[in-house]
Amino acid sequence: MTTTDPVLGPSPRAQSGSPPAVWLQDLSKNFGHVQAVRHVDLTIEQGEVVAFLGPNGAGKTSTIDMILGLSTPSGGEVSVLGMTPQQAIRRGLVSAVMQTGGLLKDLTVGETAQYTASLFAQSADVPAALRRAGIAEIADRRVGKCSGGEQQRLRFAMALLSDPELLILDEPTTGMDVEGRREFWGSIRHDADRGRTVLFATHYLEEADAYADRIVLIRKGEIVADGTSAQVKSLASGRTVRATLPGATDQALRAVPGADSIEIRGETVLIHSGDADKVARYLLTETSAHDLEITSRGLEEAFLALTGDDDTTGGNR
């Protein structure tokens, strides 16, 4: 197969049926001494709707830029639908809605879509794309006169024009109000139901929870959690038991029943668990632990803990 088709990229599944929409192996990106992306491995199958969740500066945009071929990896490999990003882009297989910029203020909404459509070998009907993005009625308006939300819808319409297999959205609702955000996601979700693969970056937990089938949590350029919304939530729920336990070892603590993750800070141990009572009972009866504290955390806190700067949690999953 590869000998007859030069397009096939490095992806392992390229030769057997459907290649993954995104395939990253040991992907790294350095800017000088800053490691923006560190050895990321990720496979997104066709048809998945995946949220890339993480705080600002976590490496979401750097990763997306490499998937789109806008920047070259410092290390590792990228394959998009079994091809290099450039090959996929030239075929209109992948498109993106970027956060800001990328529009000419002196063109009208309709002209911008027409301009974009004419660049592809195959493209969807311009009026239809405008309708799907909900901006058909402002087709004659200059882009510079459109609101932030309208401009974002235009970017969405432009991304639909090549009828891509993979749609990437980088923080698409930044600066939108709640209502605008809800409507925008309604259009995206509606579109994803047709079987398009969608990868979106966000730092809003609710957005990831509401619109993605799968959440990939990224922090400091590394994937710290990857699973369904429910899995990530369960990871985020539960409580932390904190106790003073001199001489605790990693091995000994792992044996504590119900412990999901552990951390040792000198004489203090932190055990995260879905069943904190069990952990507490064990610690008080079977070990010399004292000064016990049990704290619960909300979804938001859990997210912060997973993605924040302070290392309150150990390795997950």
Binding site: M83, L103, L107, Q122
Partner: protein, 265 residues
Amino acid sequence: MTTTATAAELSRRPVPPLGGFSFTVLKLEIRRLLRNRRTVIFALVTPSIFFLLFGLNAAYANESAGKGNVSAFILISMALYGSVLATTSGGAMISIERAQGWTRQLRLTPLSPLAYVVTKMLTSMVLGFVSVLAVYIVGFATHKPSMPGYLWIVTALCVWIGALVFAPFGLFLGYLLPTENVMQFMGFIMILLAFGGGLFVPLSQYPHALQVLAKFTPLYGVNQLVHWPLTGGAMDVWWVVNAVAWLAIFTVGAVWRFRKDTARV
């Protein structure tokens, strides 16, 4: 969910020919350029007004200049000024589009950077053509410029093509200057170069040292060449050397910046 696409299906999707060059885009770009009031004033109105100011002066307008009169000579100068501004503006637009993030957006489409630049160049050539046409129509309407009928056409074409030397210059500046005010800056440079090339004042009226210096400026060679069908006489090799040398310098500069800009980081 619909079925997923196989590798063979995916690679069957066509890549557009010619790096994504399209006449729809060219049409939109021309419409957009002519809608820009500042560009139209720069490239169409200013040179026409300059002709009306300098080309009709009774003191010298009817004096002989080769196969025509001085008014015709000035008409050619102003048309060159206008079309050079027009061609340069094509490159300057790139600077503005970079600032707005448009060139980055285009990298998410099949459009190759080369096809983009070619589109811009063709757009500015159309504007250059309209500029020459505008100045010649204004000149014709005043009944002052006098030259044989065929020379109207020949010189107009020479001016239009000669202005192409400045297409890479605009591109070079466009990539060099990351500002939204690049047009004003360029307008200023063009006035200096127009004086240097003898478009506004005949070089013979300059002091000797300045005359020598002027022969090295970028508009000098082109200006002499486009007037040659009218003035006649022997062609000076230096004119060609000047024009070709500047074309080469601007092209090298533009290619250098272009490569730097499109390189992936």
